[in-house]
């Protein structure tokens, strides 16, 4: 349960200095957000901050509440409890103004497949209220960003999966938003295509756009995010920079011990008696926080965010 509920003194104080939030504070600020669907609590007292100009990752396995959280930021999900502030606007009341100033890349491809690349962008230039004189340049800029200039006249159903995803991102950038929401931007894509998209997202980040990205790919979060919030069962279980979280929870190095199932169980027991934390990785046991200990026979490797995740939640990430 979150300690910072909807009506806490902290949130009241923050409300009294909204100008700060608008310009220097946070692009996204959630306090004690809770959302139930029937008996299922999808988001359970979530606090989340995205400072301006940073890329924050929302990390968690399927069903952790990431997508519900993303939808709450566009008021397509209305929270039962808690406070949501996006670009200084209170949701859901002022969500339309917030939506006008941010770009959203959905998890599900919702391009108009019977329209051309350029027509898709034209429609959203209107929906995002790009002024008439700026529409053409905005579309050209978006085509350039997505590297789809040569395919502008092609219908979307002729594009590859990677191109469609690039178009989805370009579509969200037409109005040069200050904040971009990316919901699982690279799910289901080939590794090469994924790297192309990482380059595109990294470019946005260096241009100072604030980004909130949900993902269940560890590597993606480690590479792109300044900070991650690890979610499990609708709650934030850890918040911080990827390296800091790894250092804090997993230590600098892991020892990976391979062997028969019986041997692995034995190693597990031994590690626990020495007060080290372990995680199963299917074919091996990873021993964490065993810094400087060399008597165990295994491969040394650098710890990663996945170790942190499994330690904190007991859940594997796909």
């Amino acid at each position: 349960m979150s300690l910072v509920g909807g009506g806490s003194p902290l949130s009241v104080n923050r409300q009294n200095e909204p100008e700060m939030n608008h310009t220097t504070g946070t692009a996204i600020r959630l306090r004690g957000v809770r959302k139930r669907f029937g008996s299922l609590t999808a988001v359970d007292g979530l606090d989340l901050d995205v400072p301006f100009g940073t890329c924050v990752g929302l990390l968690g396995p399927n069903g952790a509440g990431k997508s519900t959280t993303m939808k709450a930021l566009t008021a397509q999900v209305i929270a039962d409890e808690g406070e949501i502030e996006v670009l200084g606007y209170r949701l859901p009341g002022d969500s339309k103004q917030a939506r006008a100033e941010m770009g959203v890349v959905p998890q599900l491809d919702n391009l108009d497949v019977s329209l051309t690349v350029e027509q898709n962008l034209l429609v959203f230039a209107h929906l995002y209220r790009v002024p008439a004189a700026g529409r053409k340049p905005a579309i050209e800029r978006a085509l350039g960003l997505a590297n789809l200039g040569e395919r502008r006249g092609d219908k979307v159903d002729k594009l590859s999966g990677g191109m469609r995803r690039r178009l989805l991102i370009a579509r969200a950038l037409l109005h040069e938003p200050r904040l971009v929401l990316l919901d699982e931007p690279t799910v289901g894509l080939d590794p090469q295509v994924r790297q192309e998209l990482w380059a595109l997202i990294d470019r946005l980040r260096t241009e100072g756009v604030s980004i909130l990205m949900s993902t269940h790919y560890i590597e993606e979060a480690e590479r792109l995010c300044d900070e991650v919030t690890i979610m499990s069962h609708g709650k934030a279980v850890a918040v911080g920079a990827p390296r800091a979280l790894i250092a804090e929870h997993a230590g600098p190095e892991a020892i990976e011990v391979y062997g028969s199932p019986a041997r692995l169980t034995e190693v597990e027991g031994e590690a626990q008696t020495r007060g080290w934390r372990t995680r199963r990785t299917g074919t091996s046991i990873s021993i964490l926080q065993a810094n400087g200990t060399t008597d165990l026979d295994g491969e040394r490797r650098v710890t990663n965010l996945e170790d942190v995740f499994v330690l904190l939640t007991g859940e594997e990430i796909s």
Binding site: P18, G93, P106, L127
Partner: protein
């Protein structure tokens, strides 16, 4: 909320033109890729009804309710066209766009609210019914219906009724769990409405209960209003028909918005 004013943050209004235009631009751009098939079915269907009934029944009955039968049917079918080109695209289009193409997810992530989305979709369909509605009348002119100044009002009547049918269709789509359940609405409601509307035969000859049902059928009021626009208005009676269509459109519009919100905003 006091905070909103304190920040000086703009709160965008309801039913903004920019939002309505954005949604309609999407429809118009899409329409440019399927207008041929859509126009074909919207114009050929009523023409076939017109010819089949006009010449089929017309050979049995020469006048109905004081009109030449081709004149009677030629004006009545305007309303049928409005129903078909209003309710059906709204039902199927809406369902496909929210259920299969997730188009509405994309639109609602932009600065557009459900109210604007529904209104813009219905306005665009109304513009189409206003146009398509005139086709059978023009065909009837070719077959002997005398042109009149009142015909110039028919697009407006067809657009008003079309807005009502479009929002009613969106309401049906918002209430339906699957596209199959449209059958209940189609067979249980729309087909009876289509037949008991005074399009092909006058309601006066029917039993009282059928006349009562006819009077709560928006299609009947559309038929009457179109017929009177072409052949001469009948004073307060037509004000009543117009008022019924306006109320129908308003009620269907609000229902469509309410149920689409339930569907789209979780």
């Amino acid at each position: 909320m006091a905070t909103a004013t304190a920040t000086g943050s703009r709160r965008l209004g309801r039913l903004e033109r920019a939002a309505l235009r954005g949604v309609m631009v999407r429809e118009i751009v899409n329409f440019s890729s399927f207008w041929r098939s859509s126009t074909f079915s919207s114009t050929i269907d009523p023409t076939i009804y017109l010819l089949a009934f006009g010449f089929g029944f017309g050979s049995l009955v020469s006048t109905v309710a004081g009109y030449d039968y081709i004149d009677f049917v030629g004006t009545g079918i305007v309303a049928t066209t409005v129903l078909f080109s209003g309710a059906f695209p709204a039902m199927y289009g809406t369902f496909v766009k929210y259920q299969f193409q997730h188009t509405y997810d994309a639109i609602l992530a932009a600065p557009v609210d459900t109210e604007e989305l529904v209104t813009a979709e219905a306005l665009w369909i109304a513009a189409r019914t206003g146009t398509y509605g005139c086709v059978p009348m023009l065909v009837a002119v070719v077959f002997g219906l005398d042109p009149s100044w009142g015909m110039l009002l028919v697009p407006a009547i067809a657009a008003l009724a079309g807005f009502g049918w479009a929002t009613f269709g969106i309401f049906i789509a918002a209430r339906s769990k699957s596209i199959e359940s449209f059958s209940y609405w189609q067979s249980g409601l729309l087909t009876p409405m289509f037949l008991v509307a005074g399009t092909f035969f006058p309601l006066d000859e029917l039993p009282t209960w059928a006349q009562v049902l006819g009077n709560v059928n928006p299609l009947f009021h559309c038929v009457e209003l179109v017929r009177h626009a072409v052949f001469g208005f009948e004073g307060w009676e037509d004000v009543g028909h117009l008022a019924f269509l306006v109320v129908f459109a308003l009620v269907a519009w609000r229902l469509a918005i309410r149920f689409m919100e339930r569907r789209l905003i979780l």
